[in-house]
Symmetry: C2
Subunit: 402 residues, 2 copies
Amino acid sequence: MKKNLIVGQSGGPSVAINATLAGVIAAAQQEERIGSIYGSRHGIEGVLYDRLIDLTDFRDLEKLKATPAMALGSCRCKLPDDLEAPIYQTIDAVLKQYNIGYFLYIGGNDSMDTVSKLSRFYQGKADAPIMMGLPKTIDNDLAGTDHTPGYGSAAKYLAVTMNELIRDTAIYAVKSVTIVEVMGRHAGWLTLAAALPKLLGGQKPDIIAIPEVPFSESDFINQVREKMKTTDNIVIAVSEGIRNEKGEYVGSSAKSGAIDNFGHAYLSGVGKHLELLVRNEIGCKVRSIELNLMQRCSSHLGSLTDVEESFSIGKFGVRAALAGETGRMVAVKRETNEPYSVSMHTVEIADVANLEQLVPNKWFDLEDKEIQQEICRYILPLIQGDIPRFQNDYGLNEYVIF
Amino acid sequence: MKKNLIVGQSGGPSVAINATLAGVIAAAQQEERIGSIYGSRHGIEGVLYDRLIDLTDFRDLEKLKATPAMALGSCRCKLPDDLEAPIYQTIDAVLKQYNIGYFLYIGGNDSMDTVSKLSRFYQGKADAPIMMGLPKTIDNDLAGTDHTPGYGSAAKYLAVTMNELIRDTAIYAVKSVTIVEVMGRHAGWLTLAAALPKLLGGQKPDIIAIPEVPFSESDFINQVREKMKTTDNIVIAVSEGIRNEKGEYVGSSAKSGAIDNFGHAYLSGVGKHLELLVRNEIGCKVRSIELNLMQRCSSHLGSLTDVEESFSIGKFGVRAALAGETGRMVAVKRETNEPYSVSMHTVEIADVANLEQLVPNKWFDLEDKEIQQEICRYILPLIQGDIPRFQNDYGLNEYVIF
């Protein structure tokens, strides 16, 4: 008997998350056992508020792959821990109403929490829909997978942009400090990508600060002073989530204190904080740059490797769901680096939800040539290739907008 | 008798200023009357401190055209108004020492001030070197020319990035305001480029604020409230240099008060100021984005039209100098829009130095369809085409570094 499929997107956007959506649609359209394909607007909220759109006959898959952010919209909605809560009955009723056999959810740690709870809710129930998680986060901090879709494109943005910023900051013959603030929550993966110009054998960025290494403001100022003896224009790549020796976010006193629905403090402003610190302590020309949303939505710098892999993950997720796997997330295993090749499998979602994969300790010494090469071997294959563009008559990109 | 040539770059960087340098080198290498070609490091400072590099045999012109920022370095050095000041004697001595017949200076308003003063210093003197200004500024605010080299590439960055940001900000089903702060000093040309997604017939950005139109904070808040009735996700493009009805910079009370060598107040922070204003007055989710240095150094988004035209301007400047024109700046006249074609000529530099070309009054009504089309006809030809990339084995761009 045919069953229908729902796919949703949740959490923060990336350049590749629509490619995974396209992969789900492409594979589902090929499957005889799947009837209608529904897209849930704004993640699980689309199920709760009956905002589903019919994607069964959607054909513009290549353009969807090249569209940034989330074509279906997103949410930051955390389901209650209590599986007896009425909201689960609401979801169940809607899934029954639409004869849903397959529920695929594309997202990061928090989104996997949603999939995990729903699969526990359905555990042991008759005729339960399949629950499948599809990974996505530019932060690359999901456990159980070699890397996450979206990271490669963001990493490419960071490497290319840092390379250009280094040129821009080098022009004046005066002492200056430029602090570039990079996303990544508690993980330094994105900042390592911004450090690629150095890791590939260059001099800059001069200082790299990732959240995995406790940050001392006084050591930092000493390091800036020391670097200034040999270079005029200091460039610093710093993760938004760096903490001091006590585990407190650097500059947290200056932060808004706002907390999102998952209890995460909004991280921003560390660049500005360090800018003021340098101005006060050293007094030279100093500027901070927040790469902001551009690092997660710059599809014009999308990595073809990333986008095509994200597409494959969507397709693999549908096939795994049809094979009866449930309560699992698709994961990527790197098989070889030269040539770059991966295989896909699924992992138990409870082993992934709410966990964070951090940069390993062995990579902390970024001055070590062998470490530099190891990190480059990890990141470089993920940023290769340009994605096709769909330009209008004016030379600007066209996107899929549902 | 052969004479030598000096070329320098000054002011803020752009994606296209090295293309003009390449054009100067290319034309000078073809000219029998020119002996050595010297590059002056850090603008006029290279002459003052004898930091000249020999570019006579430099061949990597295509890569130089694709290198962002200023390969020779820059300065923000204002020559004294008093032409009797000793510094002019120093410059004259160095130019004589190097047998300089041609002095070409690439820059914006302030750099043209330097050329203007030097040409007045040399006026009536025997055997004076030719003084030629070559225009450059992403701000597009130079008088006497249809547009300036560097503007097209920055405009392309702004249009492409705004297009992507609009997608990113559209994902959540909650009321939100995103304020994108754009460079441009006192002129709104760059912000009009960021407004292209709207001017081309789209809905967003919802609000566009340029410095030429006095800005009222209370009108702004009313406008946001009004827009919020019909859209969840408001996107605003705002020039760094907007002023209120009294002519004061918006948010200037929160600014550093620092002033550069030309007496310009450092403009930054209007986005953050408006973010706080919206948070206080409306209380919705709000974010400000400063596009910062990326809008002037993103050579990966360079406009081929801009870069090739900048190259031609460099070549034209050498030919005009050899024809004996002095105290002048190369300017661009737009001949036709379809197909786009320009011609070049020179203008009296005293008519250009320290003047600002602002967005004309007739363009202020950005809701008017005919105005929208007129602005698009002006900007769109300038952003067409991609520049070649010189990638290393890792897929990252290589640049010329002197």
